[in-house]
């Protein structure tokens, strides 16, 4: 029924447009037999070009004002985060300036030089000086951006491991995450998916005979001590996944058959992040949206939504199958004491195996 209704609406719109065009045709002072733009068309469309420039500016301002506080730009929770954010802000400002100017020139020229019968355009085919100017300006600007970008990139990606570095494995499978801590020895035990033994609950394929593996700890929540460098070693057991931790400005693919890595130092605990003004405002906004949705749900006899409390998240950001949209793990950044206390409560690998 709705499909039929939609079709009827679309057909009526089509007919309406057709009629409008007919009226346009009849209304034009001089009956023409061509479909070529005349002075009237040039005038109307030239003015619309100026209108479109205003529209582009309006949508830009609208998005910045209303959606501008959605982006993750200033509340990074890792040591390298501010570097990325600075570069991002510089790039965005630059883009904004170039966008504003070039769109102005494009649409203003379109408006200003709209055609008129009898006027002749300027025969202007070349100017090496101008060409040189707008080749060299992007060259200089981009050189700056490239250098800044490359320094940032190599600083983030070239991990300098110290004795203090905490090594954690992120293990991806359709459709959930596991974390593996190295335990007392701070060395991850050997592992391969061929060693997975579901009956014995060896779900990550650890080498049961490897002494380093014995004290490993497998968890479904990622706890990180604040201020300590964490080196993630990433594995996947089935398809490509991507470990995306947006608040920490961190992302790396998990690739079956190889181990990938990414390192960062968390700087803001979960509790601290919840306290920030920006986050409180965001959570408030989200909760008012959820409350409204809940009202509707309750009215239709369903359960209300839980109220939202902020947590860092690890998301899967590489298409991985049916439940890709729900592959997540909670990240909790806490003080070193809290972290140690939590770790103590977890089962060691050797104790987690089911013995037959």
């Amino acid at each position: 029924m709705t499909a039929l209704f939609t079709i009827i609406v679309l057909v009526s719109i089509t007919i309406a447009i057709w009629q409008m065009v007919k009226i346009f045709d009849l209304a034009s002072a001089k009956k023409e037999d061509s479909e070529i733009a005349n002075d009237r068309d040039n005038r109307i469309n030239g003015n619309l070009m100026l209108g479109f420039l205003v529209f582009i500016y309006a949508i830009t301002i609208f998005c910045i004002v209303f959606y501008g506080d959605l982006p993750l730009l200033s509340n990074s929770a890792s040591e390298h985060g501010p570097q990325i954010d600075n570069l991002m802000i510089i790039s965005l400002v630059l883009i904004f300036i170039v966008q504003t100017l070039t769109q102005f020139l494009l649409h203003f020229f379109a408006f200003k030089y709209k055609g008129e019968k009898g006027r002749k355009a300027l025969f202007y085919a070349d100017n090496d000086k101008l060409e040189f100017i707008w080749t060299i300006i992007p060259v200089i600007t981009l050189a700056g951006l490239i250098i800044y970008g490359l320094f940032t990139w190599s600083e983030i990606m070239n991990v300098e491991e110290t004795e203090d570095t905490l090594v954690v494995e992120l293990y991806a499978q359709q459709f959930n995450w596991k974390a593996r801590y190295a335990g007392e020895d701070n060395v991850l035990g050997k592992a391969n998916v061929r060693l997975i033994d579901i009956d014995k609950a060896n779900i990550l394929g650890l080498d049961e005979s490897d002494p380093y593996a014995q004290d490993d700890i497998i968890t479904t929540e990622l706890h990180l001590p604040v201020g300590k460098q964490v080196l993630f070693k990433m594995r996947s057991q089935d398809v490509l996944h991507s470990a995306y931790m947006p608040h920490f400005r961190a992302q790396m693919n998990c690739v079956p058959g190889m181990i990938t890595q990414f390192a960062f130092t968390p700087t803001v605990t979960t509790a601290e992040m919840r306290e920030t003004k920006q986050m409180q405002k965001k959570v408030e906004r989200i909760n008012s949206i959820r409350a409204e949705k809940s009202k509707k749900l309750v009215a239709s006899g369903e359960e209300a939504l839980d109220s939202y409390e902020f947590d860092y998240l690890l998301l899967c950001n590489k298409i991985c199958g049916k439940s890709h949209y729900n592959m997540q793990m909670k990240i909790i950044v806490e003080s070193e004491e809290d972290y140690n206390a939590w770790l103590k409560e977890q089962k060691l690998f050797k104790n987690s195996l089911v013995q037959n």
Binding site: T2, I44, M258, H324
Partner: protein, 594 residues
């Protein structure tokens, strides 16, 4: 050259055509162009309708939708879309739009139509190969559409079909028969594209009429020519990737797979790497962006010059930037893989080459703008779409500075920021180029005019909706929303983005629905449009010197000779504001820098 022309003269008059040789197995480039256009348009309708469906799912994820039930049948029980079907729609939408509409539909149509007509040739170098090329494209289109009706669902691993997801039916239903058909369809498509490209290259090199030197070629031809070269270099690599993937899937090899445990069993694969596939895929995948975009830019150059009644500004710089873009496009593919696990140093190299590509792109944008300056702009619908292209090319291209920068890519990779970027810079821009080409050369193709008022409505609504859809999308991307999520309701974190998604979807539905205006205009005018004059836009290029009626061999009698470059618009010393290429130089008249 002239010998070739003479032999064709006779053929033109004595060749007898039946319905089948004229309309179906035609070897005439003009008919083949029309076949490409109509097939591409139909594929475009399918691709756009898919995007409407998944946009509705993103905006209103909880609500059952009767449209889903109508179009998706068993994949939307009670009107609730299946999550796998969502991914399939995204996948096939991408595949159809990138390859079937914006590669075959755009290049196939306009390279075929314009190369012989604008360089002054009787036809393509090989009419037979040209026909085969179209029919392979047709077969691959049919297979792609058929794959939608497979029991376990169509391919759903994203248009980039990264293994292991695309290799293992255990990982996803669509990776069974659906993916097999996808691969077969693409293999045939690539064969078609290669035959076409080789033909374009040979024709441009060998069949130019007397006087048509390379520096007198219209920029359209330069764009098509360079596009064909990139295609010949990069498409075979995708073919080998597809073949190796077929081997992994069907014959148990391990090119891309290793150490996999899925659904309770260890698979035998050992030693392959999915990263290898990514390299092979993007070795085509990135040049593909320019295979899509360059023809659109070529078309725009021609249309902006004609409708500004001015020479294109910086003709040589335009050619140089086409060549620079083409060269760079083959060495930037790694920017799709910064966080794929490849060596970070390699990432640095690709950042460098990628950001370089902004330079020729900036040159092009500035040259377009300068062409408008002090022109006498004729706002035909084709001109509007061309200016629209420059606008979206700038807006979309600028954000490339962020995505090409490996450090920044870490946090926006695979978010909606990427979706916004590439849809504006290649999707919408190339689509505008295609629309501009259709409005401009419709009289040349069908001998009739498109209704201009419908054209105006089509442009303005599309232009507003394109920005309405993709501009806000940058912001939800910067907020960290990953693409290809069936619903975001499992992440309360993103709840404040849900209203933005509704706005985007509404713009998308309006924009999509208004394409009906174009379709109506397109098919109605084919039969009832006003009759076209020979040179309605007062253009300089050779295609407008041929008679309106299509004849085999293009020109009755001799092929016109060329005496000047194609952009003598408003040249001082001439009464008219255009001087076609076949008009000899006046006494004492100087040709510009040639």
């Amino acid at each position: 050259m002239s010998a070739h022309a003479d032999t064709h003269d006779d053929i033109g008059h004595h060749h007898k055509e039946t319905f089948v040789t004229k309309y179906i197995f035609s070897q005439d480039h003009k008919m083949i162009a029309k076949q490409y256009l109509v097939t591409g348009t139909i594929m475009g309708v399918v691709g756009v309708m898919m995007s409407m469906l998944f946009r509705m799912q993103i905006a209103w994820p909880e609500k059952p939708n009767v449209l889903f039930e109508t179009f998706l049948g068993k994949w939307a029980p009670d009107g609730v879309m299946d999550a796998d079907m969502y991914l399939a729609l995204v996948t096939i939408h991408g595949t159809i739009m990138v390859f079937f509409v914006l590669t075959a539909g755009l290049s196939g149509t306009f390279s075929n139509l314009l190369i012989p007509l604008q360089i002054g040739a009787r036809d393509m170098a090989s009419g037979f190969l040209n026909m085969i090329s179209y029919w392979l494209f047709f077969v691959s289109s049919v297979i792609m559409i058929l794959s939608l009706f497979v029991e376990a669902g169509p391919a759903a691993a994203g248009w980039t079909i990264y293994p292991p997801l695309s290799a293992l039916p255990l990982a996803q239903g669509g990776s069974g028969m659906g993916m097999t058909l996808w691969l077969v369809s693409m293999a045939i498509f690539i064969a078609s594209s290669l035959l076409g490209s080789l033909n374009y290259i040979v024709t441009v090199i060998n069949l130019r009429t007397k006087g048509m030197s390379m520096t007198r070629l219209p920029l359209t031809i330069w764009a098509f020519f360079v596009t064909a070269i990139i295609g010949v270099i990069s498409f075979p690599v995708l073919l080998s990737a597809a073949l190796l993937l077929i081997m992994d899937r069907s014959f148990g090899t391990s090119f891309f797979l290793s150490d996999i445990f899925i659904q309770g069993e260890v698979l035998h694969y050992q030693g392959g790497s999915p990263v290898l596939f990514e390299h092979l895929f993007w070795f085509l995948g990135h040049p593909e962006v320019y295979i899509v975009l360059l023809p659109a830019l070529g078309i725009t150059s021609e249309i902006i010059a004609t409708n500004s009644r001015k020479p294109i500004f910086g003709y040589r710089a335009m050619i140089a930037s086409i060549l620079a873009i083409a060269f760079l496009s083959t060495i930037v593919w790694g920017h799709h893989m910064f966080i794929s696990g490849m060596n970070p140093f390699l990432g640095s190299v690709f950042t460098f080459t990628t950001l370089l590509i902004a330079i020729p792109s900036a040159v092009k944008a500035f040259n377009y703008i300068t062409t408008l300056w002090k022109g006498n702009l004729q706002f035909n619908p084709a001109m509007l779409f061309s200016i629209g292209l420059v606008s979206t090319f700038i807006t979309g291209g600028l954000t490339g500075i962020i995505l090409g920068d490996s450090a920044l890519d870490i946090n926006v990779h695979d978010t909606y920021f990427v979706v916004a970027h590439f849809h504006l810079v290649m999707g919408i821009s190339a689509l505008y180029g295609m629309f501009a080409g259709i409005y401009h050369w419709y009289p040349r193709m069908f001998g009739r005019m498109l209704n201009k008022n419908l054209g105006y409505i089509h442009f303005w609504v599309t232009a507003i909706c394109a920005y309405g859809v993709f501009f806000p999308m940058h912001f939800i991307g910067m907020a960290g929303l990953p693409r290809r999520y069936y619903t975001n309701s499992n992440f309360p974190l993103f709840d404040d983005l849900s209203n933005v998604n509704v706005v985007i979807t509404i713009f998308a539905i309006i924009g999509g629905a208004f394409q009906i205006v174009f379709l109506w205009n397109f098919f109605y005018s084919m039969f009832y449009g006003k009759k076209a004059k020979q040179n309605p836009w007062k253009s300089n290029t050779l295609e407008w010197t041929a008679p309106v009626e299509h004849i085999h061999g293009n020109w009755p009698g001799q092929i016109p000779h060329v005496h000047r470059w194609p952009y003598d618009y408003s040249k001082p010393g001439h009464d008219e504001d255009f001087v076609p290429q076949n008009v000899p130089l006046k006494e004492g008249e100087e040709e510009l820098h040639h």
